[in-house]
Amino acid sequence: MQNKATQQLDSVVVRFAGDSGDGMQLTGGQFMMASVIAGNDIATFPDYPAEIRAPAGTLAGVSGFQLHFAANEIFTPGDAVDVLVAMNPAALAKNLGSLKEGGALIVNESSFSKKGLKMAGFETSPLENDSLDDYQLYKVDLARLTQDALAEHGLSAKEVARCKNFLALGLMCWLYERPVDTVVEEVTARFGSKPKYLEANLAAFKAGYNYGENSEQFLVRYQVPAVPDITAGTYRNITGNEAIAIGLVAAAQKAGRQLFYGSYPITPASDVLHYLSGYKHFGVRTFQAEDEIAAVCATLGAAYANALAVTGTSGPGLALKAEAVGLGVMTELPMVIVNVQRGGPSTGLPTKTEQADLLQSVYGRNGESPTAVIAARSPGDAFYAAYEAARIAIKHMMPVIVLSDGSIANGAEPWRVPNVDDLKAFESTELDTAEGLGEEGFQPYTRNENLARPWAKVGTRGLEHRLGGIEKWDITGHISYDPDNHHHMTMLRQDKVDRVTGSMAPLDVIGDKSGDVLVVSWGSTYGTCLTAVRQLQREGKSVSMVSLRWINPLPADLDAICNSFSTVLVPEINNGQLLKLMREQFSFNGRGYNRIAGQPLQVSAVRDAIVDCLSS
């Protein structure tokens, strides 16, 4: 047995890439869990192809899973990749550009056949020429190794081939000293009901691990220690979509109401519907509607009937829902609309991330139809964004849009689980009795200090009333075309949204309260911006940052904070939408950094943009 050296590393970025049918998401997910249990901080970025199953070996069918794991707190899945595991030539062709010079390239050489090479656009095999000289190349005959490992398992050739990703996983777990027991536990939990496959996968996994141990190619192992000084608490791994789902269940429980979720399957939001469909034991009613409009309409009907009413979708669906959201604004009903943004416009890039629905969310309805908009900034944070949206919707009797995006939805990070008792309490204007009403009886548009109207409990005698989309007199709610009333109501509906600022915490400035550059981030640019800002702060630069939870209304203290800096930089994965919104509302010296490529922003690019601001 060779004596293998061990090296310690602070952080590693691994990307697993293969054909859609190669199980890269599964493999990446298992490696991620192992890293999480090993005590590393992690951030993931799954990169799905848009097609469900493109022909095997083609570039269109390449699926990737990137995992950044570290011995310190990290906030992004990593700009450049340290280790690329390429299961076939197409995966290599598509992902090589992201691999660092000198990075490790582990390829499944069994798949570099004439056919495979041709489909990936290679004239000759890159394994045989010098095109990969800039990298540490490791050729592994995964097919043969898997066949050898599973010779006695009584599986068909196809079944054997499908286990090769576990062999690759085993090798990687050896290479980075991941806790084997965890992987075995996780795999058992997942495949327990299919003993034949469980045995095979575990055998392949162990074979991969042993291969690392015995192979002459791999002479060094790496250790990425656990993160010290983690805040005490209970942690779990979570994706953004799951966080939204459990955030809504938590909200319904704390509000003491039924959760009604009306939705239509759409990438990348469908998993929210899937999760919630499994929570019937929490009294959750999910409604898979015939279309996006039916989904939001059923949600509005449920809101009228006093449920915590939520609908979820992506950009194209939000466009369809506009009229119904407007009806919610007009009838002042509490409703949450979750938009998991994706590349647009139109069908766009369904499996890629983007932040370009900000203006649509703030403005996209006919007439003056102001709607509150809140954004999640990371997978774990999506729990709080959904919870708060529900709380504000009910407290202020209005629709609230929650913005998430593809990278948050499918990305994962460790999350400190809140104690249920610590979650914020709900306030509502629900009225369940007609006692105490004056001789005018129930008037559906009387208001409290938040301008919220009463939420009559349907079925209560004496509270019968009619809501409608036509303009109405304030207080009584009867139809009115009176000019002064319409102006009054228009201003009132704006005022309602403006008053949400009263429910906001002061903005947290990361860094000095004044200085040269302020980075204003919203949504998923949080991790990237924070990493760049922290780097520059460590270098002594005068850079600070705020991360906006609320998009509409904007926080009341944003103006003063922005004006305490010489330049404000707003990095966005859109063409400058938050920047536009801010400029409308107050003056400041701002500029944007915009790259709309269906990918998270790169730390190096944001850093360069900040440095640009510093030097000008």
């Binding site: 996780e186 983690i230 805040t231 005490a232 608490g233 209970t234 942690y235 779990r236 791994n237 979570i238 799951e242 459990i246 269940v249 938590a250 429980q253 039924q258 009604f260 009306g262 019937k280 034991h281 929490f282 009294g283 959750v284 009613r285 409604f287 509607a289 015939e290 409009i293 039916a294 309409c297 059923a298 949600t299 509005l300 009907g301 449920a302 809101a303 009228y304 009937a305 006093n306 449920a307 119904a324 009806l327 009838t331 689980v417 809140p418 249920v420 349907v458 079925g459 209560t460 005698r461 509270l463 019968e464 009333h465 009619r466 809501l467 409608g468 989309g469 036509i470 009867h478 139809i479």
Partner: protein, 339 residues
């Protein structure tokens, strides 16, 4: 549904204090009065009832009722009503719509509410025109209809709401004429008592934009000859002298004269509203003038699982079977503790 309260109700109790604004002579007045009367007979108090409408003259309806009500957006009432009913199953929910609202923009929601068999009472006021927007043709307007948007005559082929409803697997189908209280009252009562989606097509007259659309069959003088009141278990007889009937041979109905060619009531098609197979209901839906009298009354009333009840039953079952601890949900399948 709530049990009727044992006291006498007045129709007026179900009227709101708002002035009714339909055009004088509009068929909607008769429908409004008929519905208020039916609710009074039913004996369910107003707080247990909701009227949900779309957009159109029909859809002003909720404002004139003293129940809960929601005047929503064009075509979307069945969808809104579905969410409402799932969350508040104890409420009796009526949907008021029109030929444009339900069959044009709202077609999708209409068919899915019927398909799902959501417990909604759907009143479709069919006046074969778009009234509120002042006179465009609708999906039920006849070919050649001259309107503001079809000055040379409509080239659009109309379809038949009843046939569409059957295609959507509707469990309850009925038809009535707006001014025919004798037919409307039992139809409304039957719809209210039906478990699931109840579709009632109300042939309504818009005297401003499409006056006389149904005159050929609905006018008092011709009604007996031009319509046939269907009654479950009864042979199909019609005519002022009750001397005509419908006989069916295979899948072909035909009008026959009782007493001629030895035809007696025994030869006539006996109406079976509970026929599980919708074929015959479909044939009834195709019966139209001039060859046939238009069927009114209840065409079909079958039982099928009710959507909102099934949703809530499934939830109740899950709640009984599995403990629901929020902290456990938040912790997830695998969690670890630090410090």
């Amino acid at each position: 549904m709530n049990a009727p309260v044992p006291r006498k109700f007045k129709a007026k109790e179900f009227a709101s204090d708002q002035d009714v604004r339909w055009c004088p002579g509009c068929g909607d007045y008769a429908i409004l009065a008929g519905v208020q009367r039916a609710l009074a007979k039913q004996g369910v108090t107003s707080e247990n009832i909701a009227f949900i409408s779309g957009i159109g003259c029909s859809s002003r309806f909720p404002y004139y009722m003293s129940t809960y009500g929601f005047h929503t957006i064009h075509g979307r009432a069945p969808a809104i009503a579905t969410g409402f009913k799932v969350v508040a199953p104890h409420m009796q929910v009526w949907v008021v719509t029109g030929d444009g609202d339900a069959l044009s923009i709202g077609g999708n929601h209409f068919i899915h509410a019927l398909r799902r068999n959501v417990d909604l009472k759907i009143l479709l006021f069919n006046n074969r025109i778009y009234g509120l927007t002042k006179g465009q043709y609708s999906p039920t307007s006849e070919i050649g209809k001259k309107t503001k948007s079809s000055p040379l005559g409509s080239i659009d082929n109309p379809f038949n709401p009843m046939s569409v409803a059957i295609g959507a697997e509707a469990t309850f189908l009925a038809r009535t004429i707006d001014v025919d209280a004798k037919v409307m009252q039992p139809v409304l009562a039957a719809a209210a008592g039906h478990g699931g989606a109840a579709f009632i097509e109300i042939l309504q007259n818009c005297n401003i934009f499409n006056d006389g659309a149904w005159e050929d069959i609905a006018a008092k003088q011709v009604r007996a000859e031009k319509t046939i009141l269907l009654q479950h278990g009864q042979p199909m007889v019609f005519g002022a002298q009750r001397d005509k009937g419908i006989r069916i041979r295979g899948v072909t109905p035909e009008v026959v004269t009782i007493g001629e060619d030895g035809i007696t009531e025994a030869d006539l098609w006996v109406h079976d509203e509970k026929d599980e197979d919708s074929t015959r209901a479909f044939l009834l839906s195709r019966m139209n003038g001039p060859a046939f009298p238009v069927p009114v009354g209840v065409l079909r009333a079958v039982e099928r699982p009710i959507y909102d009840r099934a949703v809530n039953a499934q939830v109740a079952q899950a709640e009984a079977a599995k403990p629901a601890d929020l902290q456990t949900l938040l912790n997830g399948r695998k969690s670890w503790t630090v410090g």
